[in-house]
């Protein structure tokens, strides 16, 4: 059975926790002692009774504060450095309730009260023992988290937790390390906090154990992991002690990558072939690679006679096919009404897919990504791997804005564009963007740079995006990219 999740408790307006119950019980005990004890023990009369009554009032006040502002106080306490707390699960609350009934019965019962108090004592002894045990279990336990370098939205990955028991003798059992995963940026998206956990069944003394949990983050962005909370209910499960043991870490989750539709790919190649400025470099538009000895079946037109004469044997010019085409991606995230969160995510995913495709097809070249959003981002890197990394990082954090500077980005793109490059403008304002692009391109053409036929405008609408990109199931992606995840074991 799954553990009850803490988010269910969050919905409650009040915090009905273990500390509250204990404070109420303490208050009742103080009042009872103040009123009844002087009847049987005169030493408790006078000042002692007053002190007990004041203590009871204080407990009541603390319980009331805890009831209504308990969670906030817990946060302050955590901020102030108090990192340990005792949690009473539902079973523990019922257990305490039965104990309370027995205690009351023991007080009311004149002759059989002692026997009820024996049952109460047995239960109290077990409760105290459990509290003592969980304190020991958590003593000198360190937990470290190891995150993958990056993750991709919608794709499961493992997070490793290593627990080290530094106690000299005693093993720790049933230690649950609960992580906290929260999306911190972009702040436009709200996600409920997740609490994945790893249960360490036994950590021997002076040893460490490593476990992992799986996580699938639905959205791109920067996620905060932590603080880690370790807890234990061992052995009886009627009381839980928990403490925070680790600082926070962040992880950038790249946008979801899809698959470009074949139709669109074909159209794009046609447009590319029309627009590309052809430069003769080899017999088949290829680049010279090396000179080697002639082999049977080689094209005689490729024989390099000068080298053959020098070496005394036929030498052949070898060319390498050149299919690289530079594609610049400009993502314009102008915050308008029609740019829903879903569309925005799809657009970012399209940009990411284009960047990934680009980096896959060409090992080197002029890779370029521009983002016009809350911040203008320009990434122009020659190395495809580095470009992919930086582009996905930037896209992970891209945020729509009403101040998106498309003109500036277009100008920057114009400066970086090469003869082979295509410029793909993904925008949420296609009409305005086209007008703006035309004006910029006209200005460029006046300077002798003709870019009109190399601009492809992709409007961020559901129809156009669905024509270009598709998102297969995550399992297919995993199968496709097997070995791609950084966590994959050897």
């Amino acid at each position: 059975m799954p553990e009850p999740k803490s988010h269910l408790r969050k919905r409650m307006p009040v915090v009905f926790g273990a500390s509250f119950i204990l404070q109420i019980l303490s208050a009742v005990a103080c009042f009872l002692a103040a009123v009844v004890l002087p009847l049987t023990t005169p030493e408790f009369a006078g000042l002692s009774a007053v002190i007990l009554a004041i203590l009871g009032c204080l407990f009541l006040c603390v319980a009331a504060i805890n009831l209504f502002w308990g969670r906030r106080i817990a946060r302050w306490a955590h901020w102030l450095g108090r990192r340990s707390r005792f949690v009473l699960p539902r079973e523990g609350i019922v257990y305490l309730g039965v104990m309370l009934v027995l205690a009351v019965g023991g007080i009311l019962g004149q002759s059989h009260g002692n026997r009820l108090l024996i049952v109460f004592g047995i239960m109290a002894g077990m409760f105290v023992f459990n509290g003592w045990c969980v304190t020991i279990m958590l003593g000198r336990i360190l937990v470290e988290r190891r995150l993958p370098p990056h993750a991709r939205a919608g794709q499961a990955f493992h997070v490793e937790l290593t627990a080290r028991n530094r106690k000299p003798v005693i093993s720790s059992r049933l230690i649950r390390a609960t992580d906290s995963v929260n999306l911190i940026s972009p702040t436009t998206t709200r996600l409920r906090e997740a609490e994945p956990s790893v249960m360490f069944v036994r950590i021997p003394s002076q040893a460490s154990r490593t476990g992992s949990y799986q996580l699938m983050l639905p959205r791109r962005g920067r996620y905060q992991f932590g603080p880690l909370r370790i807890s234990s209910r061992f052995p009886l499960g009627i009381g839980e002690r928990a403490k925070s043991v680790s600082e926070t870490q962040t992880l950038i989750v790249h946008p979801k990558c899809g698959r470009l539709r074949p139709d669109w790919k074909r159209q794009f190649r046609m447009a590319e072939s029309v627009a590309r400025t052809r430069a003769f470099k080899g017999i088949h538009d290829d680049e010279f690679h090396q000179i080697r000895e002639y082999r049977d079946g080689d094209n005689p037109r490729l024989i390099h006679w000068r080298s053959s004469a020098r070496r005394g044997t036929l030498m052949l010019r070898e060319f390498e096919q050149q299919r690289e085409s530079s594609c610049m991606v400009l993502l314009d995230l102008f915050d308008c009404d029609r740019l829903t969160a879903e569309l925005q995510e799809t657009a970012v995913s399209l940009a990411a897919t284009l960047c990934v495709e680009q980096s896959r097809q060409t090992a080197s070249g002029n890779h370029c990504l521009l983002i016009a959003g809350q911040e203008n981002v320009q990434i122009a890197v020659m190395s495809s791997l580095r470009f992919q990394q930086e582009a996905l990082d930037a896209l992970a954090l891209a945020t729509a804005s009403k101040r998106a500077d498309l003109a500036g980005s277009l100008m920057a793109a114009a400066e970086m564009i090469t003869r082979n490059s295509m410029l793909m403008l993904i925008t949420s304002r296609p009409e305005a963007a086209r007008v703006l692009a035309d004006s910029v391109l006209d200005e460029l053409s006046s300077r002798g740079i003709w870019l009109h036929d190399r601009l492809i405008v992709i409007p961020i609408t559901e129809e156009s995006l669905s024509d270009i990109i598709e998102f297969p199931e995550a399992t297919d992606l995993i199968a496709e990219e097997s070995g791609g995840a950084s966590h994959a074991a050897v």
Partner: protein, 797 residues
């Protein structure tokens, strides 16, 4: 599921059924006896066998709800129609029904908790219903199995929680149907294929996760270490439980509708074998075969304030063994003994008691104090050594009185509103199921033999003439009170025999025989009942001629019987000679409990002897052959170690439950309070640190205080201080330095550490080159993986 998971599930189910069956049997035992006490337990067991073991069926939820409603109605009807303890029994029955219903249902985690909660309530109600130490033993056993069950339950929750389910912040998705083990750490940690085997969340608006479990491969859930830990946990829990129980303040509110009814049952005639108003001859034999303990006592020499053994005490009191006097019977008719002549109303003299729980009017100083605890059930009679100087009870609601004439001691309940015949509070007519404690003081008789039977003593200031007249009066009174009136009609043969024994030898001149003196008569009767005349001790009740009185059958035919026969014969033979004599029942002899060190008197120590009024004094006579009695009862009176342990536990139970009154609780903690007041005064007078220093040094310098509560407190303070100091950062750094320094000189440790260091470096180097090892693989497997990996790398280059 893995085999170890299946094994864990089995163990858990057996544990929980054991706890529930045990709790049901405990509640049933507290309610009734015999097979009926096992009914609820058997029903729960059968339900478990049908549902869990044979898996024949299980009760649907709807049907369980209907049944629960019916059971509630039945319980309510029983509750509202019953009175007092019947209402409590309604609760017991309701719990038993509910337990059976839950047992018949299909179980989940919540229902297992229900079973445990009902079990706790059953134990609680059972503890109310019964005060027997066996209930305490049952509770201890159930505590152990409860601990075991909860511990196994925790492990089971881990197994159940490790299902291959995806959680989202909104809900939990069901696990996929995979052939792989749900909780397999290997699958979860290292095999990416396992990722695709689960049903993933379709909703892409929430974070989804799958919890992990780390468990060493091949390690079973229930290990020897786990079992040993549970046993240790039990003992620690018991100690903590005792502390919690003892520390809970005893605040008694004056409302207890149930307890008084449960703990006192009316005394029915004949409920006390050998110690009732009318006793059938031979009844003592029934209790002689029992080894149940009756009372335990401790003797203290008041002059030296040291414990005295039972033998020393008996010697000082001029007894062969310590003899506790109980009932006194004087009149015999048709095989039965009674206190007063049958059919006659109680005389004023028999109903007048002497208050003995004060030293006022007593001359001399007592030498011994005997502290006695009578085991339940406690009847009317108080057993004490005779003569006693004074007697005391600790309970203010009752006192002990001595009946004038027979000097028997009886409990007098001051709470009883009814009055006796002459306006005095009635003696306790209720058998108490709570053990009673009292103490009495005695003057040693080996130095003051004249004090024997002082209740009949004549003051020394009385003149000789008055003394003679008083003796005659006393003799006349004694003959009226302690001689069976129509004895010659009842037992003519016995009287004739006694006459023959107690006559002088016929003179040669034909002079008629004359009765001899009382002392000679006593000697001859005692001599006649000896083994020389064929009388022998036997616990077997024998009758050869049922047409005659059983006593005459004993004297003339069987000549075999136990102490009651011998004493009865002696009493009646003395009474036939007009010598006042009574049959006294009590206990003689004791054993030392090897566990508690206290002297214990058991039923097998029951004894009957004779007290006769001879020459103006009451003397004790014991016609029973002592050696034969000792031989017959030696095998039964002695207690084994198991028996001693049982009685020690019973004492502990009674002392801790029944006798733990609010007053006793206060008395227990009063020294602590007084000591704290004293410490507070010392701190106020001398300052904090000097006072603490003097207190700690004062405790440490006096070895007697080491094992007192003060020593315990001082040890606790010192240990707490040491723990606090050891947690200081500077001290921890110093200790770590010391440990490192030690490691430098430890070759073995260094060797081990060098291997570990090498392995750590190896792993780090592999990771540096992109090879990461699974967490669950061994060093050898890692090495194999590394060889393959680097071979691939090198061949690629």
């Amino acid at each position: 599921m893995q085999p170890s998971d299946v094994q864990l599930e089995k163990i858990f189910r057996r544990s929980i059924v054991f706890v529930s069956v045990g709790a049901s049997i405990l509640a049933g035992t507290a309610e009734t006896t015999g097979l009926a006490a096992w009914t609820a337990g058997i029903a729960v067991l059968v339900a478990w066998i049908l549902v869990e073991w044979l898996e024949l069926f299980h009760l649907p939820d709807r049907m369980a709800n209907y049944l629960g409603t019916v059971v509630l109605i039945v319980g309510a009807a029983e509750f509202f129609n019953g009175k007092e303890e019947s209402r409590l029994l309604a609760g017991v029955h309701l719990l038993a029904y509910l337990q059976c219903i839950v047992m018949l249902m299909k179980k989940n985690e919540r229902r297992y908790w229900w079973i445990l909660a009902i079990s706790i309530l059953q134990v609680s109600v059972g503890s109310i219903l019964s005060i027997h130490p066996e209930i305490g033993g049952g509770m201890a056993i159930l505590t152990f199995f409860g601990l075991w069950c909860l511990s196994v339950f925790s492990l089971r929750r881990v197994v159940a929680g490790s299902l291959d389910a995806w959680h989202t912040a909104e809900n939990v998705l069901p696990a996929a149907e995979t052939s792989e083990s749900p909780g397999s750490p290997t699958a979860a940690n290292t095999n990416p294929a396992a990722v695709s085997g689960s049903q993933r969340p379709k909703d892409n608006t929430a974070i989804a996760w799958q919890d992990g479990i780390q468990r060493d491969p091949g390690e079973p859930w229930i290990t020897g270490r786990f079992r040993a830990g549970t046993v240790l946990a039990f003992f620690v829990s018991v100690i903590l439980s005792v502390v919690c129980y003892a520390a809970f303040p005893r605040i008694r509110l004056p409302m207890d509708p149930i307890g008084t009814r449960i703990e006192g049952t009316p005394l029915t005639p004949g409920s006390q074998v050998g110690f009732a108003g009318n006793v059938e001859l031979g009844g003592t034999g029934e209790i002689l075969t029992s080894r149940e303990r009756v009372l335990q006592f401790r003797v203290t020499d008041l002059e030296t304030d040291r414990a005295v053994s039972a033998e020393e005490f008996a010697q000082a009191m001029m007894m062969p063994e310590v003899r506790f006097r109980g009932n006194v019977l004087a009149h015999y008719r048709d095989g039965s003994w009674s206190m007063t002549p049958p059919g006659s109303p109680p005389s004023r003299r028999d109903s007048v008691w002497v208050l003995l729980d004060t030293d006022t009017g007593r001359s001399g100083k007592a030498n011994f104090r005997v502290e006695v605890t009578m085991d339940a059930p406690v009847h009317q009679h108080v057993f004490a050594v005779h003569p006693l100087h004074s007697i005391h009870t600790s309970d203010e609601s009752e006192r002990i009185v001595q009946r004038r004439g027979t000097s028997i001691l009886l409990w007098q309940d001051l709470r009883e509103r009814s009055r006796g015949l002459f306006g005095q509070p009635a003696v306790s007519a209720r058998t108490s199921l709570i053990p009673r404690t009292y103490s009495f003081d005695c003057i040693r008789l080996d130095q003051h033999p004249e004090r024997m039977f002082h209740a009949w003593d004549i003051p020394s200031h009385v003149s000789e003439q008055d003394r003679r007249r008083l003796v005659e009066t006393q003799l006349a009174v004694a003959r009226r009170a302690f001689v069976t009136a129509d004895l010659r009609d009842q037992l003519p043969r016995l009287c004739e025999l006694t006459d023959t024994i107690c006559r002088t030898e016929p003179a040669t001149d034909g002079e008629a025989t004359e009765p001899v003196a009382d002392t000679v008569c006593v000697e001859r009767i005692m001599s006649h009942l000896s083994s020389q005349n064929g009388f022998q001790y036997s616990l077997i009740k024998q009758r050869t001629d049922r047409s005659i009185d059983p006593l005459e059958d004993f004297v003339f035919n069987t000549r075999s019987g136990h102490c009651e026969y011998f004493a009865s014969a002696a009493v009646l033979m003395l009474q036939s000679q007009n010598i006042p004599a009574v049959l006294v029942s009590g206990f003689q002899g004791s054993d030392v409990n090897s566990v508690s060190g206290l002297n214990e008197v058991r039923n097998s120590n029951a004894h009957t002897w004779v007290e006769a009024y001879v020459n103006g004094r009451w003397i004790t006579l014991d016609p029973t052959p002592g050696e034969e009695r000792a031989a017959a009862t030696s095998g039964k009176s002695g207690g084994s170690l198991l028996s001693d342990l049982r009685f020690a536990f019973a004492d502990f139970w009674v002392s801790g439950t029944q006798n733990m009154t609010a007053e006793r609780w206060q008395a227990m903690f009063r020294p602590v309070g007084e000591r704290f007041h004293e410490i507070r005064r010392q701190i106020a007078a001398n300052g904090f640190w000097p006072a603490v220093k003097s207190w700690v040094t004062g405790t440490l310098m006096v070895p007697e205080k080491w094992f007192s509560w003060q020593g315990g407190l001082a040890t606790f303070v010192i240990l707490s201080a040491l723990v606090g100091i050891s947690r200081l950062p500077i001290v921890r750094r110093f200790l770590a330095t010391l440990l490192r320094f030690r490691d430098l000189f430890s070759v073995n440790t260094d060797g081990r550490r060098s291997i570990i260091r090498f392995y750590s470096r190896f792993i780090a180097a592999c990771e540096h080159h992109g090879l990461r090892f699974p967490a669950s693989s061994t060093a050898l497997e890692n090495a194999t993986l590394a060889i393959r990996f680097f071979e691939t790398q090198l061949s690629g280059n």
